[in-house]
Amino acid sequence: MTGPLLRIEGLTKRYRPPSPLPFLNGPPRTVLDAASFTLAPGEALGIVGGSGSGKSTLALCGVGLLRPDAGRVVFAGRDVTGERAPPGMQMVFQDPKASLDPRRRIAAIVGEPLRPAKGEREGLVAEALGEVGLDPAVGGRLPHELSGGQRQRVAIARALVARPRLVWLDEPVSALDVSVQAQVLALLWSLRERHGLAYILISHDLAVVARTTERLVVMEGGRIVEAGTTAEVLARPCHPYTQTLLDAVLPFDPKAAKARLERFRRDRPRGA
């Protein structure tokens, strides 16, 4: 099969603001508005946007942890809309502290998505841990005994252990230090090259996706406002919001960086 690995069609999610009285709900708020895109096997896609842009909702609908109000998720030619973690699809969450059960050992955490017999299981867990650059000996430890970067590696190992074809990563490095971020991003890229793994990397920071994705989707207010190859979007942004995101990445040179901040200063309404 040579079609796309994933096809998102008009995915829409609305929330009713919680109301103190039943039947008196306000109008539903659309947090994800008819998002559509496709992903080829082995492709790396970035989704960028601020908080409230709908990017996390898109991921949760994509892996089936949320049921969309409209639209379809077609994965490997099969409609998997609303199906929780269809085979071959996994997800990595933002905060590795929160995504690992504090009371389970690393080996049990990593092995959770596996069903098969015990002997095989240990081998696969050790392999997955090795894959993300961890000593299989950490399998006996508890999450709080690891550093933030190690914990995120464990989360990635858990996503990889069942050999998925696609992994969604929701802000996988924003809780990490800069030097550790680089380690995790480099790991992702190498996994893609080695296993032909496709991934969708969600971030509020354009710099994070610049290096690690081939195509880019920009979201604002629940909508996809721009899409294209990463190089194209970064070089010639069409939508003003994309430009704002680009401006927000401060250049490394003191003079240029100080000049850049001036733009944000002028944009802001000032009081007395």
Binding site: L65, A85, Q90, K97, D101, P102, R103, E112, H144, R151
Partner: protein
């Protein structure tokens, strides 16, 4: 240091309570129904370390036998309360919507019936008895555990590791059993110790009023209720049963506090 002391003191008092109850069930220095009016209201002596009551019965023997009754009533009530309350609370947290609303309304209803009122109603209808006390205390414990389990589980429903459990192919029941229960169990155990203390107090109050344990069963609360008239003549008849209640309740409370302190909060927050 003080915390460690509290834990060990609580553990010690609770162990002593349990051992006394077990011993009292098989052996007491004197039979608890050995009425001897000539020996009534004797002050403590080597023969009767805690004196005798208004019917001349040995107070120590009554206290030993009473330990078992109190503990049994309290344990049965708390076990029943937790047995119904915890699953209901978890259901409310994970189902949400109508199930949540129903559980919360029912728990509001149950909380409107303090144990004393329930016991009074049952006693008025069926006559007083130890089962009244158990049922009444249990009914009040159900919402306590339901609400606690719900409030502990609710923040976990959105936690990424619970979501990850779904992604690993588990259904709601699997996620609750594997990820949620172990993470809330320790605090539930702590609450159980504290509820046990409350239940002990409640049993004493009910038995004191004549709504709980009936003769010939021994109970600290009933001893106080029956001896109250004689307190001017022999203060020891009201002193010792009360002290027994205080020590037992304090032991359970200290144990609960100590257990809470021992739960490593780092497991929750990461290092």
């Amino acid at each position: 240091m003080a915390r460690r002391l509290a834990f060990w003191l609580g553990g010690g008092l609770t162990s002593a309570l349990v051992l006394t109850a077990l011993l009292g069930a098989v052996w007491t220095p004197y039979p608890i129904d050995a009425v001897a009016v000539v020996e009534r209201l004797q002050a403590p002596s080597p023969l009767h370390p805690f004196g005798t009551d208004q019917l001349g019965r040995d107070m120590l023997s009554l206290l030993m036998a009473g330990a078992g009754t109190s503990l049994l009533v309290a344990a049965a009530a708390v076990a029943a309360g937790a047995g119904f309350g915890v699953p209901l609370g978890l259901l409310a947290a994970f189902r949400g919507g109508v199930a949540d609303e129903a559980v919360m309304r029912l728990s509001d209803l149950a909380l409107a019936f303090p144990a004393l009122l329930t016991a009074a109603m049952i006693a008025a209808t069926y006559g007083p008895g130890v089962l009244d006390a158990v049922v009444a205390i249990a009914i009040f414990n159900v919402p306590v555990f339901a609400r606690l389990a719900r409030s502990l589980a609710l923040p976990l429903t959105g936690r990424a590791f619970v979501q990850a459990g779904y992604l690993a192919g588990k259904d709601a029941l699997g996620v609750v059993v594997v990820h949620v229960l172990p993470n809330v169990a320790s605090l539930l155990v702590v609450q159980a110790a504290i509820q046990l203390a409350f239940a002990l107090l409640a049993e004493a109050s009910l038995s004191y009023l004549g709504l709980g344990v009936q003769p010939p069963g021994a109970s600290w609360g009933r001893m106080l209720g029956e001896a109250q008239t004689y307190m001017r003549l022999a203060p020891h008849v009201v002193l010792f049963p009360g002290l027994a209640i205080v020590l037992a309740v304090m032991g359970l409370n200290l144990l609960g506090d100590g257990l809470r302190d021992r739960l490593d909060p780092r497991l929750w927050e990461g290092s």
